[in-house]
């Protein structure tokens, strides 16, 4: 067994898993609070990547230096993705808060379809080359063929985001309000939690992490188009369900497990059926362990 190849696949899986985790966190937070599968979450990630591409393109032509571009493009992506997430919630989900779950899901599919085609029409349907915004680190030169500096940045960002979110949820006032809303919306309202605001904040945070994922993966892979959000969104959803939807550590664990299994599967068996594999994985989890690895079991109520 070739150890170096194994190690390469392991790191590849870690990269995939980290990106899925940035997306899955948003899924799981929104689901935890309003029990909605936010189908348009992948599109928010795509919009983040596109905004970063546009801003980076403009700044490159104006001759700014690379680090400044990276910072400004990431901030723009985060701001715009959050704004889109916030607006989508206000338009398409808020009026449906007391409607049956399926209505909200269909509305989310509508948002996804709308945003995809909006970007397709306003920009282009071609794959656009994405500039490599992340500088190459000097100290990584000797191991460059195994791990690229963009990958290191991805691992670090995911870890930081995870820790920051955990602190936010566990120790801050808004985090407390979020947990209360997730448990019982009406009770939370009774004790003075502004539920509308909490839900908006959840969408904003989820969209912001998705945007970070979008910028990082786009500059790692090097090209984007309007369709990247769909498959990434589905896979992040698989990861969130795998870990137990509604649970934040679960989302990260599920993402890493999915990333590694995909990476080893494509590396050792076949790359043709990469996406099929993720879907089969999803079906199997939902059939045999619908509550996921770390999820709670919930019972039906009449």
């Amino acid at each position: 067994m070739d150890f170096e190849y194994f190690f390469e696949l392991f790191l590849g899986g870690l990269t995939r898993g980290s990106i899925y985790a940035l997306l899955a966190l948003g899924y799981t937070m929104v689901y935890g609070i309003i029990q909605l599968i936010n189908f348009a979450h992948g599109e928010i990630y795509m919009i983040g990547a596109f905004t970063a591409l546009i801003v980076a393109g403009v700044l490159t032509l104006m001759g700014w230096n690379q680090v400044a571009i990276l910072v400004i493009a990431s901030i723009a992506a985060v701001v715009y993705s959050s704004a889109y997430g916030f607006t989508a919630e206000k338009i398409a989900y808020k009026p449906l808060r007391n409607a049956p779950r399926l209505s909200a899901l269909i509305s989310a599919i509508g948002v996804s379809l709308f945003l995809q085609n909006y970007v397709l029409l306003a920009q282009t349907s071609d794959f656009l080359p994405f500039p490599n915004l992340i500088p190459e680190f000097e100290f990584l030169k000797p191991v460059e063929h195994i791990v690229r500096s963009s990958e290191i940045v991805i691992y670090l960002t995911t870890a930081i985001v995870m820790v920051a979110l955990t602190i936010l949820i566990k120790f801050t006032r808004i985090g407390k309000a979020m947990r209360a809303t997730a448990q019982d919306q009406q009770m939370a309202m009774l004790v003075g939690v502004d539920v509308d605001r909490v839900i908006s904040v959840t969408f904003i945070i989820g969209s912001a992490t998705a945007a970070l994922g979008g910028v990082l993966i786009a500059s790692h892979i090097g090209q984007i188009n309007f369709y990247i959000g769909f498959i990434a969104g589905i896979k992040a959803f698989v990861a969130a369900v795998l870990g137990g939807i509604g649970s934040m550590p679960g989302a990260v664990l599920g993402s890493l497990v999915l990333g590694w299994t995909e990476s080893f599967f494509t590396g050792y068996i076949s790359s043709d059926y990469e996406d099929v594999f993720a879907f089969i994985f999803l079906v199997l989890i939902l059939i045999f362990r619908p509550s996921g690895i770390l999820g709670r079991k919930d019972t039906d109520k009449v």
Partner: protein, 408 residues
């Protein structure tokens, strides 16, 4: 209504949308030629458009809230005009006669192109009615419905390619294959809740498409299967025009058959079991309805129509490849059911005709088709969850009692 406060709100909304759409709508960077295109005029359009739309949006929201308040206060709800017309025999009988006559003389009056479009729309009517069983009656959101359509189309194409089986033999086989797939795929997912079910069916749909794309020895991969024969009519040779007219009449027959069967199913024991399951699963089980059997039958029957639609689709286009069976096709069919009105037959027919014919005649706007579909899904869910022609719940009255009970 047009006071200062409202005006301020709309201006804020319009500024917000101008900010929101700024990078994606206005700037276009060409990284190869290193040029930036600034399209400021678009921003003005967004501003003006969102300014007016926000008025409409808020007015509609107010209207919806009023309606909800009225319903809460127990006021008599108005029966919608469309429903009145459908149930008024004085109107519906002549309308039915006119529609039938129009359908029959359609190919004689209009050109081949028009007949072809109409045939496509009719295929969507049949498939939409099939999905209506699953989504509208049984309340199971199926996002992978196109998989069954693909199963039908590929069964005909492959059976014909390998064994030379003709259209009329393939039609029941395709339907049966799709039903079988419906049962096989439906069985493992029965335990799942509504939203999980939607995602799993979406997964199944994509699995089937990806397998068709990658398993070259079986399905000829992305290049698809060509030269599928059109349906025959007792071995009579027909020219292109005649064949298309023939397929059109065949679809008319199939549509009538579908409507008949779905209508009968709706009022049957199993149809009522589906609707009960849609309303409340646990209560329904307590009433002694077998959940597994009921759900599986909905899946299987829904898939049957998709399979038949698929066979006709393959025979009509004479060429199929996996690209015709993407997730977006499922979503278009879902749009038809949602727009028309879940559970309502007339609604689904109208939905299919509107969504398929309108983009054909508005060719100039055809690129905006999917954008509009997305907007339609959101709009319908927010303002008219029942669709254009919503399904009215049956009201049962106890004669001889003073109180009337209403089905909520």
């Amino acid at each position: 209504m047009f006071n200062v406060k409202e005006l301020k709100k709309s201006i804020l909304v319009s500024l917000w949308f101008m900010f929101l759409t700024f990078p994606i709508m206005v700037i276009k960077v060409n990284t190869i030629y290193k040029t930036i295109e600034w399209r400021w005029s678009r921003m003005a359009w967004v501003g003006v458009g969102s300014f007016f739309l926000s008025f409409v949006w808020r007015a509609l929201l107010r209207k919806k809230e009023m309606g909800m308040k009225q319903a809460e206060e127990g006021q008599e709800q108005k029966v919608p005009l469309t429903q009145k017309l459908i149930h008024d025999k004085r109107f519906s009988r002549p309308a039915l006669v006119i529609i039938c006559a129009f359908a029959l003389i359609y190919p004689l009056v209009f050109s081949l192109y028009q007949v072809n479009i109409m045939t496509t729309a009719l295929i969507y009517v049949v498939v939409g009615l099939g999905l209506n069983i699953v989504v509208g009656l049984a309340g199971l959101l199926d996002l992978g419905y196109v998989a069954f359509y693909a199963v039908g189309a590929y069964s005909y194409a492959l059976l014909n390619h390998h064994f030379g089986i003709g259209f009329w033999t393939a039609l029941p086989i395709g339907a049966a294959m799709a039903a079988l797939f419906g049962i096989v795929l439906g069985f493992p997912v029965l335990r799942l809740r509504g939203d999980y079910l939607a995602i799993v069916t979406l997964g199944f749909g994509e699995i089937i498409r990806l397998v068709l794309e990658n398993w070259n020895e079986f399905s000829f991969g992305p290049s698809g299967i060509a030269n599928i024969p059109r349906p025959g009519f007792f071995g009579i040779q027909m020219n292109l025009h005649q064949v298309h007219t023939y397929i059109y009449y065949l679809m008319i027959g199939m549509t009538v058959f579908t409507i008949f069967v779905v209508r009968r199913l709706q009022d049957s024991r199993i149809g009522r079991a589906w609707m009960a399951l849609r309303e409340d699963e646990v209560a329904c089980q307590a009433m002694g309805i077998d959940k597994t059997k009921t759900k599986l039958s909905a899946f299987a029957l829904g898939a049957t129509w998709a399979g038949m639609g698929g066979v006709v689709f393959a025979a009509k286009t004479t060429f199929i490849n996996p690209a015709s069976f993407t997730i977006w096709e499922s979503i278009i069919i879902l749009c038809i059911v949602v727009l028309g009105g879940m559970g309502s037959i007339v609604g689904v027919i109208c939905g299919a005709l509107i969504l398929i014919l309108l983009p054909e005649y508005l060719r100039a706007f055809s690129e905006y088709r999917m954008l509009m579909f997305g907007a339609v899904l959101i709009f319908m869910m927010v303002f008219r969850p029942g669709g254009i022609i919503s399904d009215v719940r049956k009201v049962y009255q106890f004669k001889g009692l003073n109180e009337t009970t209403k089905d909520q």
